[in-house]
């Protein structure tokens, strides 16, 4: 068997490059807790609107005593409910999202707020938004004829402004 020394060197370099990438991702996962949205939690899409955390009056934002915010959203053709959400900057956010029908995806452009919403499972993403402004929240998984018309609006306001407003329950139900 013949393997050229130059080729051996190249194979070692290639191994090094792959190894470097793996190390970076593994260390960011293990030491900085950067994970893909992975939250294996089954839910019955057919009855989620009837009771529990995804009933209509529970949707929107909920702030705990420590100031952590949970955002509950139901995705259904062709919209995200509630339609308008106001959030503060630089605050730990937990998005919990479910689909009432087919597979949707959600993405806030130019941020890492992204997940698939697969019916039957709760999609959970933890993130923080750092820049105030108006963002769309877009469906990025084909879900039927109205796929391109499925979005809602997020308004991100400064932390100080948020604290001044002392939002009790968010904008959960206004359309």
């Amino acid at each position: 068997m013949h393997i050229d020394p130059l080729e051996k060197k190249w194979a070692a370099i290639a191994l090094g490059i792959a190894g470097l990438f793996v190390t970076v991702i593994l260390s960011s996962a293990l030491f900085h807790g950067i994970h893909a949205p992975s939250h294996v939690e089954p839910i019955d899409s057919a009855s989620l609107h009837l009771s529990g955390e995804f009933a209509e009056d529970k949707l929107g934002i909920e702030e705990d005593a420590a100031g952590n915010i949970t955002v509950r959203i139901v995705a259904g053709r062709y919209g995200f409910y509630p339609q308008d959400i106001v959030l503060p900057t630089d605050t730990p956010l937990t998005f919990r999202m479910v689909s009432q029908d087919v597979i949707h995806g959600v993405h806030v452009p130019m941020t890492n707020m992204s997940t698939m919403i697969v019916p039957g499972y709760v999609a959970e993403v933890k993130t923080e938004l750092h820049h105030a402004g108006a963002y769309p929240l877009l469906c990025n998984e084909y879900c039927g004829m109205g796929h391109a018309h499925m979005w809602n609006n997020i308004k991100v306001i400064g932390k100080e402004q948020w604290d001044a407003l002392k939002h009790p329950q968010g904008d959960a139900s206004h359309e």
């Binding site: 290639a14 992975s38 089954p42 087919v102 993405h107 769309p136 004829m145």
Partner: protein, 540 residues
Amino acid sequence: MNNTTEKTLALSHFWVAFGAFALACLMGIYQVIERSGFIGWIQSREVYYASTSTHGVLMAFVLTTFFIMGFGYYVATTTLKLPVWNKTFAWAGFWVSLSGVVLAALPLLTGAASVLYTFYPPVQAHVLFYIGATLLVVGSWFWCVSMIVMYMQWKKANPDDPVPLAMFATAANTILWLWTSAGVAAEMLFQLIPWALGWVDTIDAGLARTLFAWTLHPIVYFWLIPAYIAFYCLVPKQAGGYVFSDELARASFILLVVFSLPIGFHHLYMDPEQASGWKLLHMVGTFVVTLPTFITGFTVIASLEIAGRLNGGKGLFGWIGALPWTNHLVLAIILALLMLILGGFGGLINASYAMNAMIHNTAWVPGHFHLIFGGTTIIMYFGIAYYFWPVLTGRPLFSNNLALIQLWTWFIGMVILTTPWHILGLLGQPRRIDSVHYNNLLTLSWEPYEITMIFGGLILVGSAGLLIYNLAKTQFHVTETYEGEVEYAEPIHPVKALPAYLNSFAMWNWVIGAFMLFAFGYPVAQFFLMKTYGSSPWGY
């Protein structure tokens, strides 16, 4: 050797492949124009999604499967110097696959299967679509059996000799495909078909996505391996040189087969139904599978350098100019490698999941795979077609110049099409939208890119037309005859004997089996172990 039947067999497969390709190109240009919203009367989301679904199925499943089968039959006969085993059986495979395509085409074209080529339950297509797609795969299994039988026949007659490299790689692809297609076959047979027939009421979308992910990554290598075979076994000879290393080529093919299988979860990074540990595991595998591509890049460029220097090229880069750029296979590989470099970079971003979150399911993704698949892979299919057509039809190529223009225009069109796509992805445009009119200022910044993409698309359609024209002219209007056969490149250091692990897949099948059990065993089993809720079918 009189191989007229083999030639007809290969040619028939190739025509189905390129016919599907031409039709899909027309749909592609429709889609990019419709989406931009610039021409009012062609707007129709129903037609758009029917078209996207058909475009994807034709390109990803029909073009590839038929091309690979035709190519495989001819490579097997010419490298092993054996007639195709049981010709009736081979033709049966062709007809099973073709009837599957026709069955699937009926609902696709009438808008009753607008579920895109990845199927997307619980959006439900007409059952004929699922049955047709399954038959296409079943027909390809006939091909797998033919390849394996021929490989065994040859091995029996030549027990101690190295299997010719091109056949070794074809066998690798056969094994890869049998393992790969098992995932989607299970999804079809146990989930989609019974559900579409109404035998079961609900479907577990999480399980369906997991099974599809099993298929979704290695299938890309199934498409790519013929291009790699051309890289290693056809191009060096055409360029006037030798294969730099036969052994390492085999090692690359083995690595591709073994490591492309247990890594499909990088398509599920953003999915909720699998835990992060499994995603990390599949991520590591994803980086391992870059190794054979790095090695292939090196070996192939080294082979080209040998050829360039043998042709009189001097200095550090002089050999590049000395390559026969007017040979269509050589030009094809140069353009293919350029696109592989661009697309490979995008792939690394996809594979790293913190970065993946930024571009997941955005326009970046189709931009990326149009470079790798629509660029690198397909351009090698073109090169192979130009090389094989004279051999298979017995007529010299109608026009070498047209072939070169076709390859260049495909390259240029693809770069113009995919660059804006990548930018749109970074700007947050979702993939698979039939219009770009969100109620938001952001989307205004998308418009100039939409216009650019139309230009790219037009160039590509023109290029596709040139390909079909040239091939048809060659076969039906050229009157001279051509007697050549396909010639395979020799390694620079001839291979006399090989250890069994580089000359047989017996051991590797066990390795793959173990890896697959490890990577998919629990992730599939969990759906049966925990309480899950299925979904009812939905229309569009």
